[in-house]
Amino acid sequence: MRFIINQAGSGGERIGSLKGFVKISTAVIETPASALFTQSGSVVHLTNEVLSKVFSNPKLLWVPLSKSYQLETGLKAQGEGVAKFAGLQNHLTCVTLHGASEITPSGHFESDSVPLWTKNGKKMISANRYMDLMEVFKPDIILAIADGHTSLDEGSKRISKALDRTSNMLNMCVTRHKNSTCLQDSSLIGVIVGVGEERKCEQSIQNILTYKENLSGVTLEGITDGSEESLTVPLEKLEAIFKRVGDALPKDFLCIIEGCWNPAVVVTAIEHGWDLFDGSYPLKLTNAGHALALQLDVNQDNKELCILNLNDESYKDDFQPVLASCECLACKKHTRAYIRHLLNTREMLASVLLSIHNLHHFDEFFHHARLHIASRTFDVFKKHIIKQYDFYKQNKKDVPIPTIQDVKTSKKKEKNKKRRVSDDDIDNVVKSDNSL
């Protein structure tokens, strides 16, 4: 894979393209872009058939190992890598250890290995084992194994250890990558950790730059440990980090930001030269019953909130599409009222329709970002988006956040209720992962 910068904007923002993929030689991923978040190798809630109704061109699939570890045996038997195995051979893949938005237990680290939290519990993974798995998953892009799941206010001692561990593991990843014949078609990405402490972060970057020739880019971890609190960093603070780290990196590096960041954070990161995002944000919206409804035209104000909570009863007889200007299948054929009904009855099609819309619209958001970079008006676009998101934050309906205890009991109640009400048609079998 090659990363080529096609055009720089008036600030640090830039348009680039990922191309030269060996598996799909014609594929081009234009950046800034978002990947599509997967679980078990599938874009969450969407089959190959439905995904092809959303995107006709190759996309980058974000594959956290924690949520696809159980594919290993099948992958070995098949031998053609995770995209093909998951029925998505027309798309490209990027494998990482965990999704940045997963909440994982703290601790459990060993000197040369990190815990991988899978559906079947903890697996200790060394850099060697990780690269063995990469030879089985055969992704187009590999994020090096790292200890990056820490928040900005993580303690100094913990960060030092994270730094050492990450550095040692990167060394092993680079060596294995160089010597593996079957990984020659995969690009390796270094992981920046310990971002909360400026000096440690610099060290982390320096470590990575030691292997500059062997790496195609970096990914920024060490900001969030997956918790909601770690995501509620003031935008100015994040912006300072994006700028400081972005400026310290070689220009030809692909710059990735992991985590469930809202559109205001995304445009801020783009402005400082960050190219690729992990796609967990639209999934989080979908799992919450929310629809992204940004006004992408900078000449028009958004007359509604930029995120619609379709669980709300007020949509029960709202027969408009989620977003009138949207060209996705869900907006072309279905209404807010129908999606609200599907959410209310806990039908799986709700997540399918919301995924279709949210993925399409999030993709359009990046498309518009690129258009504005090209026409050197990104600053206008950025302000337009931040304004909408701020307005949403101030005006969204306050929904009390249930404590864990509440969630459990209310789920139980709901279950009992369902038993009585429904035809046993209701799915207790598959529970979508709301925590992400």
């Binding site: 099948g74 129908y338 009904h341 399918v352 009400v421 048609d425």
Partner: protein
């Protein structure tokens, strides 16, 4: 020849010259249906995670909605504003709704059935609700399906008390009159009466004969597939198709297992519905001619075949058993993928039967099908007897 009305016209296109099987065309306001047909069940105005577009690709021509559930959520007010369920869910082909009576009796222990209707406590707010024949039709008029069902007095299939069964059967006939009288959209929707009488031959005969005197466009056979022995089941189907007008469609409610479909088509049934194909999908079970695969089993861990090599559905074209094994009961995608395959399986079976009826080779098809399913030649008695009764002689090896 056939029933003609604005709401439904049915014509038999081809008949098997051995059994009672027939292939027909049923013209409904929203779509023209080729029978025999299997109708997947989309209880709450959705087919278990599949888009209406996917159902069209799968060649589904008519699907089911449940009046009881839809009447509660989204409710008639919303459905009315939406202009009916077709609009609400974005489905332009055939729709059929049940009467709502079955759910009440099967789900609610508190239901009390009187001549007026079914009285029960709402599971949503514990208030008392009375579902009368008039109310059921009112809701179904609002939902706007092409075919709607009369409210019937439902008794558990294996129930034994003769007096109660007799009462229910006769009441079903009386309720039919009330339903027909209450029907507000006869040029757009057809009410099907339901033949009741459980496993009692005389009562069933009486019920079918009563219904035959009414001005209706088709008939349903109900009260079966409720846990009764197969030896008790098929004679009741046969009795129904023997009496009911040949020129009108006959719908056997709640039946959808492949072998049951084959036998009952031979007995002269045109329409079926069942939650089984989509329900079993959610537990990781995929349908094949030889029965079903439980994809959760370890034996599929490294099996790189599709579910069925002969199947052309999007699941079989793109996914292996090994991959499905990894994701069943874990990812919603697994439900969708297996539901697609299972519906494709049902559709293909019905299409194959239609083609054989048209070509005059239906008896041969039945023999081949049964032989493949019971490759040891150990055919169950009920299959041998039911098929023999319509002239398809299969003999145990």
């Amino acid at each position: 020849m056939g029933a003609k009305s604005l709401a439904l016209s049915f014509s038999v296109q081809a008949e098997c010259n051995v059994s009672r099987a027939r292939a027909g065309l049923m013209k409904l306001p929203h779509y023209e249906i080729k029978t025999p047909v299997f109708m997947p069940v989309g209880t709450q105005g959705t087919m278990k995670g599949l888009l209406p577009d996917q159902l069209e690709t799968l060649d589904c021509e008519i699907i089911l909605g449940n009046t009881y559930h839809l009447g509660n959520r989204p409710g008639t007010e919303v459905l009315e504003k939406a202009g009916g369920l077709h609009n609400f869910m974005g489905w332009n082909r055939g729709l059929l709704t049940d009467s709502g009576g079955f759910q009440m009796v099967s789900l609610l222990k508190l239901a009390e059935i009187t001549e007026e209707g079914v009285k029960f406590k709402s599971p949503y707010d514990d208030s008392e609700i009375m579902l009368t024949p008039e109310k059921s039709i009112e809701i179904q008029n609002c939902i706007g399906a092409d075919i709607i069902m009369q409210l019937d007095d439902v008794v558990q299939t294996t129930f034994q008390d003769y007096d109660r069964i007799k009462e229910a059967t006769e009441r079903t006939s009386r309720w039919l009159d009330r339903c027909l009288k209450a029907h507000k959209r006869p040029t757009e929707q057809s009410i099907f009466p339901i033949v009741q009488g459980l496993l009692n031959k005389d009562l069933r005969e009486q019920s079918a004969k009563d219904h035959m005197t009414k001005n209706v466009n088709g008939f349903a056979i109900g009260g079966l597939s409720g846990g009764e022995a197969k030896d008790d089941f098929w004679p009741m189907v046969s009795l129904g198709t023997g009496i009911l007008d040949k020129n009108k469609p006959r719908y056997l409610m709640g039946v959808g297992l492949a072998i049951d479909l084959v036998v009952c088509v031979a007995l002269g049934i045109d329409m079926f519905d069942c939650v089984f194909p989509t329900r079993t999908a959610r537990f990781g079970c995929a349908l094949i001619n030889k029965g079903q695969l439980n994809l959760k089993q370890k034996q599929y861990e490294t099996d790189l075949n599709p579910i069925d090599n002969d199947c052309s559905c999007s699941t079989c074209k793109n996914y292996t058993r090994a991959y499905l094994h990894c994701i069943v009961t874990l990812e919603t995608v697994a439900c969708h993928l297996i539901s697609v395959h299972n519906i494709a399986f049902q559709m293909r079976l019905m299409r194959t039967m239609r083609e054989h009826i048209e070509k005059g080779t239906f008896p041969q098809f039945v023999k081949k099908f049964v032989n493949e399913l019971y490759s040891d030649g150990n055919y169950p008695t009920w299959i041998v007897n039911s098929l023999n009764s319509v002239g398809i002689n299969i003999v145990r090896k």
